[in-house]
């Protein structure tokens, strides 16, 4: 039955066109239940682990904090507060390395050993009594951001631009990146919270229905969610064919409800609100008690770790500590934060797990592209990139222009700014041309020019 549904959906536009099929490699962790690890001795909490303005500290050096207590407040609307992930003492507030390189102001929290680490903050709220506007404020107070990686404040997405109305909420459980299984395990184990969160989102946005979208390689998640849905529910779950980058919101919108999000706009332009599974699940858990985001599930995986798994860890857990727990002894060079297609390498092992980090991937020499595979050739116009690009751009032409340094025509004639850097073009290129890397450079060069002009 599943098989036939799979085939039908493939033939009747159940997915987007183009895309790629990298080896899934989910077998390392997909069957491993989420496991809670003990607290590390020290947590590092950057004040800007979300998109928007950094939070403002509410604590000073030497102050004791209780698990769940707000320790930094939001600075304006596009910003979120920060909550203490553990009971302990703020030992310092100083610049610490971040995963991307630049050092950022961070709170250092020394965790009290032997503390029961109970969450004492938060009080039950009757969500139904709150107006949508009050709920938006309540969401901001939880410090919730997009846990799928973008770390964009969730409450901002809940504020629909004027002239738009949302009729459908899409919950993104595709997790199309190879290796990662965070969302998969959440859907299987915490389906009730996921659906609860979905209903909250629907109420805030005034949406009539919600679709939880996942891929056909996670049918156990579909079953788990269906288990907690009511008969004739306004929330439904749908598995679309497994393909990368199915989890990009534009691709998902096309696959689940057949809508194209116009270039340069947000999903709200076509009546959609798209949220990640991890975000929605935390919303279902935190909102009824008015608590803050203090922990998250991280997939630590790859052939480079001895004990891969899905671990629930406090925000701010240093990567080095987490990797040691999982039996990592290789060189740091093969460490990727996030998935292998869009994740970045980490500048230092002393950087922490932030709200947006759902995976740590340790590859070995074998997985990293071998020297022979990386041999560069000139573009042979094979068109593989054109057939892979989920946005239907022409990476071949873009790459040639980028090679010549003609960055402006790339944006004006070849839609450079519609590229969301999924990396499919670089993946398929037989000439090993770093296409998406070129495009990043081109985009930032264009941004600089615009900034200079204004």
């Amino acid at each position: 039955m599943h098989l036939s549904a799979f085939n039908l959906s493939q033939f009747f536009g159940g997915t987007f066109s183009h895309g790629i099929h990298p080896a899934e490699n989910k077998h390392f962790t997909e069957a491993k239940p989420i496991e809670r690890l003990p607290f590390p001795a020290q947590l590092v909490l950057p004040l800007s682990m979300h998109a928007g303005k950094p939070s403002v500290p509410l604590v000073r050096k030497g102050q004791e904090v209780v698990r769940g207590e707000p320790i930094a407040r939001a600075d304006g609307f596009v910003s979120v507060p920060l909550h203490a992930p553990a009971t302990g003492v703020i030992s310092d507030i100083r610049l610490m390395p971040s995963a991307r390189g630049p050092r950022v102001m961070s709170l250092i929290l020394d965790v009290y050993p032997g503390d029961p680490q109970e969450v004492l903050y938060g009080a039950p709220v009757e969500l139904d009594a709150l107006s949508p506007k009050e709920i938006v404020q309540a969401v901001q107070d939880t410090g919730l951001v997009g846990l799928g990686g973008a770390a964009f404040p969730t409450h901002v997405k809940l504020t629909v631009p004027e002239g738009c109305s949302i009729d459908t909420v899409l919950i993104n459980g595709c997790e199309c990146e190879p290796f990662l299984t965070t969302d998969h395990r959440l859907m299987v184990e915490q389906a009730a919270d996921l659906v609860k969160g979905t209903r909250i989102l629907m109420r805030v946005l005034g949406a009539k229905r919600a679709v939880i979208g996942t891929e056909t390689n996670k049918m156990d998640a579909v079953a788990a969610i269906q288990n907690v849905l009511l008969p004739n529910d306004t929330v439904s779950v749908k598995a679309v064919p497994t393909k990368y980058p199915q989890g990009a919101e534009k691709m998902l919108a096309k696959a689940l409800v057949g809508r194209e999000i116009p270039s340069g706009t947000f999903p709200s332009a076509v009546g959609l609100g798209v949220f990640n599974v991890a975000t929605t699940t935390q919303m279902g858990q935190l909102m009824p008690m008015q608590r803050g985001v203090i922990e998250r599930v991280v997939t630590v995986t790859g052939p480079g770790v001895k004990r891969p798994g899905n671990y629930i860890v406090p925000i701010g857990t240093p990567i080095r500590w987490l990797l040691n727990r999982c039996g990592f002894d290789g060189p740091a060079g093969h460490l990727i934060m996030g998935g292998p297609m869009m994740g970045g390498t980490v500048s230092s092992l002393d950087t922490p797990i932030t709200k947006g980090c759902g995976g740590l991937l340790v590859l070995t020499e074998h997985q990293l592209t071998s020297e022979e595979q990386m041999k560069r050739y000139p573009c042979i116009s094979c068109g593989a990139c054109v057939d892979a690009c989920p946005m239907h751009l022409n990476p071949c032409e873009l790459g040639r222009l980028a090679y010549k340094g003609q960055y402006e025509p790339m944006a004006e004639r070849y839609h450079l700014n519609d590229c969301f850097e999924c990396g499919s073009c670089s993946y398929v290129c037989p000439a090993a041309i770093p296409l998406v890397q070129y495009f990043r450079i081109a985009k930032s060069s264009n941004r600089e020019k615009v900034a200079k002009a204004s």
Partner: protein, 350 residues
């Protein structure tokens, strides 16, 4: 902070294909065709293919050396050009002429443009077009398939002394007692004498013709292998064949006594090897989904036009070269419609 950190941007994974792997597999796919050619035309075909391949690879190697660059023969593309050129020359073609054509293929067809990835035309066809102009008689001299002494002796013209004219083949054919062979390919028979050749014979390939173009069936099978490995754009092949079939069907319906059947068009001459191995040359074909269909259709239609109305009985070579020249324009005019495209012109007006 002292960890040896290796910074790299995503994606960290790469697909399985690389340029040299694709090219190598094209050479593999050409091997059965070479083998059939040797079975059919004997020792002469063998040395012809070997000469073309060796000279092509050698030319590329020495040109790179002359330029002080590392050699690029490792990408296997020069080998493809060599093998293909050998397959599209008549089996009796003198070797010194084949060597000159090979130098022209790689030198003018490819390296003058900047090497792999920059050539506008299919290099093997550039070589053949040169041969067609320079050596008009030898390139239209055909020998019969399956001659009985083909494994014992060479066709006399094979070892023509460089810069000398090849000998007349008629005494040789008389000695072999080949009856009824008029020295014409099925295409020439059709065009000038209105003599049809059995489709089954054309499909299997036991007819006169260039060394490797005769067996449509074998070429198609080798193409299927490459398409299955995703190393060949089947849409190009399909649109060449479909357009040629449809276009020739129109004339056949009009007057079946003069014009050949669509099946004859598809299986005769160099159309099959052209469609499968020449038109699909990645460098000189378009990249856009609509572009490849237009490109393929140009080849199919022009081939049939030359065959039916031109002075030549074969037109695949010129059709592909013409479409190669149109490729940049086709690419430009057929940019794909992007996801979420908004009409820009309307916005400007409003």
């Amino acid at each position: 902070m002292s960890d040896p950190v290796h910074l790299k941007t995503s994606p960290h994974l790469r697909g399985a294909h690389s340029v040299d792997k694709i090219m190598r597999h094209v050479v593999y796919a050409l091997m059965p065709i070479c083998l059939f050619s040797i079975v059919q035309f004997g020792l002469s075909a063998l040395v012809l293919i070997l000469t073309c391949t060796a000279v092509c690879v050698g030319t590329e190697h020495f040109a790179c050396r002359l330029n002080g660059r590392p050699t690029t023969v490792g990408d296997w593309s020069a080998a493809i050009t060599g093998v293909l050129l050998g397959l599209i020359l008549p089996p009796s073609f003198p070797l010194w002429m084949a060597a000159v054509a090979s130098v022209v293929s790689i030198g003018i067809g490819k390296l003058f443009f900047g090497g792999l990835g920059f050539n506008v035309f299919n290099p093997a066809l550039v070589g053949r077009a040169f041969a067609q102009a320079a050596f008009t008689v030898p390139i239209t001299t055909w020998t019969p398939a399956m001659a009985h002494a083909r494994f014992k002796e060479f066709i006399p013209s094979t070892f023509t002394f460089p810069f000398a004219a090849p000998p007349d083949l008629r005494p040789w054919m008389e000695r072999l007692q080949i009856d009824g062979f008029t020295g014409a390919t099925p295409l020439a028979l059709m065009k000038f004498d209105y003599v049809d050749t059995e489709s089954a014979k054309l499909f299997v390939g036991t007819v006169a013709g260039s060394a490797g173009e005769t067996s449509s069936m074998l070429i198609l099978l080798c193409g299927l292998y490459l398409a299955y490995r995703k190393m060949l754009n089947w849409k190009i092949v399909a649109s060449v064949l479909a357009s040629a079939a449809v276009f020739s069907w129109i004339f056949w319906v009009k007057d079946p006594s003069v014009y050949p059947t669509p099946l004859f068009t598809l299986t005769s001459g160099g159309l099959m090897i052209g469609a499968v191995f020449m038109a699909t040359d990645m460098v000189s074909s378009p990249v856009t989904p609509l572009g490849v269909v237009i490109y393929g259709s140009i080849i199919g239609v022009v081939t049939v036009m030359i065959r039916l109305f031109g002075g030549l009985n074969e037109g695949v070579m010129y059709a592909i070269l013409l479409a190669n020249a149109a490729t940049p324009l086709i690419n430009n005019l057929t940019q794909p419609r992007i996801y979420g495209a908004v009409r820009r012109k309307k916005e400007v007006k409003a």
